[in-house]
């Protein structure tokens, strides 16, 4: 036998150290060096979810050395294509959501969500439909009547074309029996601008996430007509669209995908990590703080749900004349 090489000696030490650490850990193995891709800029919805997951996973000691990477652009497709084509050394996950499904379609992205693997749906947000406090529109029924009488006369302020707000407005129009291509939808860069346009009375109606409008609703500066989810939100006295007589229900869901080349062991570890996370009190607290709805689905249910969303969103975009 030859003498112990220095390299194999240090390898031996590393293995021993890892074994000791594993032994000392809890039942749930810690995922090390997890990378989270948020396919949008800092402060966006995807980014907020990525950073909420980061904090909770760290607090619950389910993962360590977590890094969030923001890649903005193309309705999320730039981040998606970087995620799919990039080399991965560590376990990685990517945030996905309603807007990215639409983004892939509207930008005709060569790389699609089919090149990633669904892991879980985590949460959802409801939109709210608001009018300025001094508007003569008092209820959803008033709005629908006005829309039927003169579709072009009702201007809707909302987010990007093909995004959640836009699809929702299209569906409301359809439910009211109005030609979706006649809808006067005015694109704004984010909820802040939508709010400003609505508060200033420049647009007839504003459509954005409940949490973004909540302070103004509570202060009585805008009137909330309905929310898009099919369940009321605690602490907010606003009917659902269905209760208000419009047969539409839509939730702006977000979830997690992983790279198809991720090792099976890592895939399993990530799924289990998320399944444990959603049960933790700090995750529940994080949801409540941000007004997010718990919509957790494991991969077995999330996969089919994603397929169904792809079909539904494509159909809505075609009806609105965005896709040919």
């Amino acid at each position: 036998m030859t003498s112990i090489h220095r390299r194999s000696f240090s390898k031996f030490m590393a293995v021993t150290a890892a074994a000791i650490m594993l032994g000392a850990g809890a039942a749930q193995a810690e995922v090390k060096g997890l990378e989270i891709m948020a396919p949008s800029g800092p402060g966006s919805g995807y980014d907020q979810l990525a950073r909420a997951i980061q904090t909770v996973l760290q607090d619950e000691k389910l993962a360590s050395g977590i890094q969030v990477q923001n890649v903005a652009g193309g309705g999320g497709t730039v981040g998606l294509s970087q995620y799919v084509t990039g080399k991965k050394r560590n376990p990685t996950i990517m945030i996905v959501g309603f807007a990215l499904v639409g983004g892939v379609l509207t930008t005709k992205s060569a790389i699609t969500l089919d090149q990633t693997t669904p892991v879980a749906r985590l949460m959802g947000e409801s939109d709210v439909i608001v009018v300025p406090a001094n508007s003569d529109i008092k209820t959803m029924a008033d709005l629908v009547a006005k829309l039927k009488a003169n579709p072009g006369g009702v201007s809707w302020a909302g987010g990007s074309i093909g995004g959640f707000d836009h699809v929702l407005v299209g569906l409301i129009g359809k439910a009211a029996g109005v030609d979706p291509t006649k809808i006067n939808y005015v694109v704004h860069a984010g909820g802040g601008e939508v709010m400003a346009s609505t508060l200033g009375g420049h647009a007839t109606v504003g459509v954005s996430g409940v949490e973004e409008f909540r302070p103004q609703i509570e202060a009585g500066q805008v009137r909330a007509l309905a929310i898009s989810a099919d369940k009321r939100i605690p602490g907010l006295d606003v009917p659902t669209l269905k209760e208000a007589g419009v047969d539409v229900s839509l939730v702006n869901w977000r979830g997690i995908m992983t790279h198809p080349e991720t090792r099976e062991a890592d895939k399993k570890a990530i799924s289990e990590m998320l399944a444990t996370m959603v049960k933790s009190p700090s995750w529940k607290a994080a949801l409540e703080k941000r007004g997010w709805i718990d919509t957790y689905q494991p991969a077995a249910e999330f996969g089919p749900f994603l397929k169904q969303q792809q079909t539904q969103i494509e159909g809505a975009l075609k009806e609105a004349g965005i896709l040919k």
């Binding site: 193309g74 970087q82 201007s155 103004q216």
Partner: protein, 503 residues
């Protein structure tokens, strides 16, 4: 005076040694990231959010505010010394700031920027304390028609940076407007001139273009002339302090810049670039030495730097008073509020007075800290220019390349940077001014977006631009700004004795 009592309470919160420490950490970090191109305050606050999770909300926000203000201070440093604007709000500063640095007046340029930022920051924070609700009410009167008129007004800035040749200046402007067309058309969702490259869907980043034209283009030009021409760049010539003349030429631009910056910053779609453009234009029109503009006029640094800092305070007005985030950093701060379970908005002043007034008081303190930090640093920073030329040039190119990459972690941005850099080099060789190109790139897409939004709401009725009083007034001012110099010139030309101008 309820406000003063509340502010006094705010100071008692912000002046505790613990919070003072966080403010100092914030302004130092902010200055550092302002100096680095590519890393903005938004990303920094996002990165720090998980770290600050266990801090008191008040302390965390005091630090965030320090970062935000600090980045505005730091952005001017690289603009002036290296011609590499780190933030879009400090692009205008590079025009005359770098020219001053080349003449050996870098220290004075940095000083007028720092003091101007302090004056503007303090006055604007005062405005935030006392008139935020009123300002926000005015800001909400701005709809798409009004914004479009404001963009047109800002576009007249181009007349101040066109240079000696009208055709060359306009060519540059149109290059900028054309670059601005690249990307998804927001109103219809169709891609324009993206060549099938997904990274181009969101358009070309203004900072990448500014760094490409200014830093890369200029540096390549300087290198190409290096063998033939004698060096014309000095670290420091004469005193490093601002002279009496510098002071007397700076104080009015500081005040006027503040006056432009705060209200436009408070507009939900105002931003920090437009007030800097308008400030440059105003100073050139009012200056006794308009011929110095573009060659190192101190007013052209003092005004825009004050304007961008005042606009930073303006952004906080709708955020605190309405919960409206009007910039990326404000959006992150909003997310941070939510992380602590605090809902900013109309009720914030009542529900969390300690936080709000502590934050506002920390803005005053942060400004003082920044001045103390930055003024002595000016003398140190200018030593950068003593680095031997070849090293300095290589350094600028590496710095610019690194900054363009960190902006979006995107290789395509590097290609754009260097293509634009070569374009800038070509423009420089052909004596085409680069500033109009940047003005066109920033304002073109904004103006188009607001124009179409206005017409969508009015269902195609063009009269919205003249029936809205604010829009009409702004358009009239814009027309006068363009026409009056032309009329004056033609009258002067038709009156060789010069009696017409002997008022």
């Amino acid at each position: 005076m309820e406000t003063l009592a509340a502010l006094g309470h705010g100071f008692s919160v912000a002046l505790t040694p613990y919070n003072l420490l966080w403010s100092a950490v914030g302004v130092t970090v902010g200055t550092a990231i302002g100096v680095l191109p590519g890393i903005g305050p938004a990303l920094t606050v996002a990165l720090l959010l998980p770290v600050t999770y266990n801090l008191e909300p008040t302390s965390a926000f005091i630090m965030f505010a320090g970062i935000y203000y600090g980045a505005m201070y730091g952005g001017s440093t690289t603009s002036i010394l290296l011609n590499t604007p780190g933030e879009s709000g400090s692009i205008v500063t590079a025009l005359d700031g770098h020219a001053m640095a080349k003449k050996g007046r870098g220290a004075q340029a940095l000083a007028t920027a720092a003091i101007g930022s302090f004056v503007a920051g303090t006055i604007a924070t005062g405005a935030l304390t006392f008139v935020a609700p009123l300002m926000v009410k005015l800001a909400l009167m701005f709809g798409p028609a009004e914004y479009f008129a404001l963009m047109v007004l800002a576009l007249t800035t181009v007349t101040a940076v066109l240079g000696d040749s009208l055709p060359r200046g306009l060519a540059s402007l149109f290059i900028g407007l054309a670059l601005g067309l690249v990307g998804i058309d927001l109103q219809t969702g169709q891609a324009r001139f993206t060549l099938g490259i997904a990274e181009l869907l969101d358009g070309i980043d203004v900072v990448v273009v500014a760094v490409g034209l200014f830093a890369v283009g200029e540096t390549l030009f300087a290198v190409s002339r290096h063998r033939f021409e004698k060096e014309e760049m000095y670290a420091l010539k004469g005193s490093k302090w601002m002279s009496r003349e510098d002071w007397s030429r700076s104080w009015k631009p500081w005040l006027r810049g503040t006056l432009l910056g705060f209200p436009i910053g408070a507009l939900p779609a105002g931003g920090s670039e437009i007030p800097t453009f308008l400030s440059y234009l105003t100073e050139k029109r009012l200056s006794k030495h308009p011929e110095e503009f573009g060659h190192g006029a101190i007013e052209a640094v003092a005004g825009p730097e004050a304007a961008n800092n005042a606009s930073a305070a303006g952004v906080l007005a709708p955020l605190l008073a309405l919960g409206l985030p009007t910039s990326a950093t404000a959006a992150i701060m909003l997310a941070a509020f939510q992380q602590y379970g605090i809902q900013p908005g109309p009720l914030l002043f009542d529900s969390n007075p300690t936080l709000v007034w502590g934050l506002i008081a920390s803005l005053y303190i942060g400004n003082v800290l920044l001045l103390v930090l930055n003024l002595p640093m000016a003398g140190v920073w200018v030593k950068l220019l003593e680095i031997p030329r070849p090293w300095l040039y290589a350094g600028i190119l590496i710095f610019a390349t690194m900054g363009a990459y960190t902006l979006n972690n995107n290789l395509v941005d590097l290609v754009i940077l260097w293509v634009i850099g070569l374009l800038g080099f070509g423009m420089r060789v052909l004596n085409v001014p680069v500033a109009p190109c940047v003005v066109g790139l920033i304002l073109g897409p904004l103006a188009e977006q607001q124009f179409r939004r206005a017409l969508t709401i009015s269902q195609g009725d063009l009269s919205v631009f003249v029936t809205h009083p604010i829009a009409l007034s702004l358009l009239v001012i814009a027309a006068l700004l363009v026409l009056i110099p032309v009329i004056l010139r033609s009258r002067r030309a038709g009156d060789p004795e010069g009696t017409a101008i002997s008022h």
